[in-house]
């Protein structure tokens, strides 16, 4: 994979929690500048300010919608339950790259910002999230 060094893209970061999740969850950088084909690292931070352990699970979204197909996560913290003990704070990395083919797609010619949003939910029994690999009907 060869970086497309002349095509700089701004990645901006959002963090949300579902109303019932008592974590503080936020990105550690508001934006990072990347080029397609080059792996990049970014961080979120989550803190459980309560006196009881809480298990969260997250999903993510990418806008613009059509850019999402080029957003490749190598590793992150999503789709698996994450447990934070009382008053625990952890760094949560996202390791990703934008596919070099992004630069060749004419529909992406005017896209210079891609926004990555993570949302954490409290993991509860019986709750179904729109996670990859799950079927829900």
């Amino acid at each position: 994979m060869t970086p497309v060094k002349e095509r700089v893209i701004r990645i901006s970061f959002n963090a949300d929690t579902h109303a019932s999740l008592q974590w503080n969850f936020r990105p550690q950088q508001t934006e990072i500048y990347v080029v397609p084909g080059e792996t990049a690292l970014a961080f979120y931070r989550a803190k459980n300010p309560t006196n009881k352990p809480i298990i969260g699970i997250s999903t993510y979204n990418v806008v613009p919608f059509d850019a999402g197909q080029y957003f490749n996560k190598i590793q992150c913290f999503c789709f698996e339950e994450q447990r934070l003990n009382p008053h625990e704070e952890v760094d949560m990395p996202v390791f990703f790259y934008i596919d070099p083919e992004f630069d060749e797609d004419p529909r992406m010619a005017r896209v210079d910002t891609i926004t990555l949003s993570y949302t954490f939910f409290e993991a509860k029994e019986g709750q179904k999230l729109p996670l990859p690999g799950y079927s829900y009907n």
């Binding site: 060094k5 990049a40 996560k73 992150c76 913290f77 999503c78 760094d91 690999g133």
Partner: protein
């Protein structure tokens, strides 16, 4: 009421990460490397290309502490940061 736009057909489909989920660094074993990387970003207008050495160091820390499956750095996009073979490193005169 009907509309020509069909909001239901296209929805973002999240994909699971290629290598799964990072275990949480509960003990902050790699926190120092993260801080070095974040400082590099702040010092360089958040340009990822200028902080790749620091991000590599962070991921190596994770691998050394069983917080990430060990992989060759070249497979993680760091091929250009790997040490050159000894035959290339010496005897290369610079003008």
């Amino acid at each position: 009421m009907s509309t020509a736009m069909n909001f239901g057909t296209k929805s973002f489909k999240p994909r699971a990460p290629d290598k799964g989920s990072f275990p949480l660094d509960h003990f902050g074993e790699c926190k120092a490397f993260k801080e070095t990387f974040m400082k590099c970003l702040r010092d360089n207008h958040f340009d990822n290309s200028l902080c790749r050495l620091q991000s590599k160091d962070y991921l190596e820390c994770r691998m050394d502490n069983q917080l990430m499956a060990k992989e060759p750095l070249a497979k993680l996009g760091y091929k250009d940061l790997e040490d050159p073979p000894p035959s290339q490193a010496d005897g290369d005169p610079k003008p």
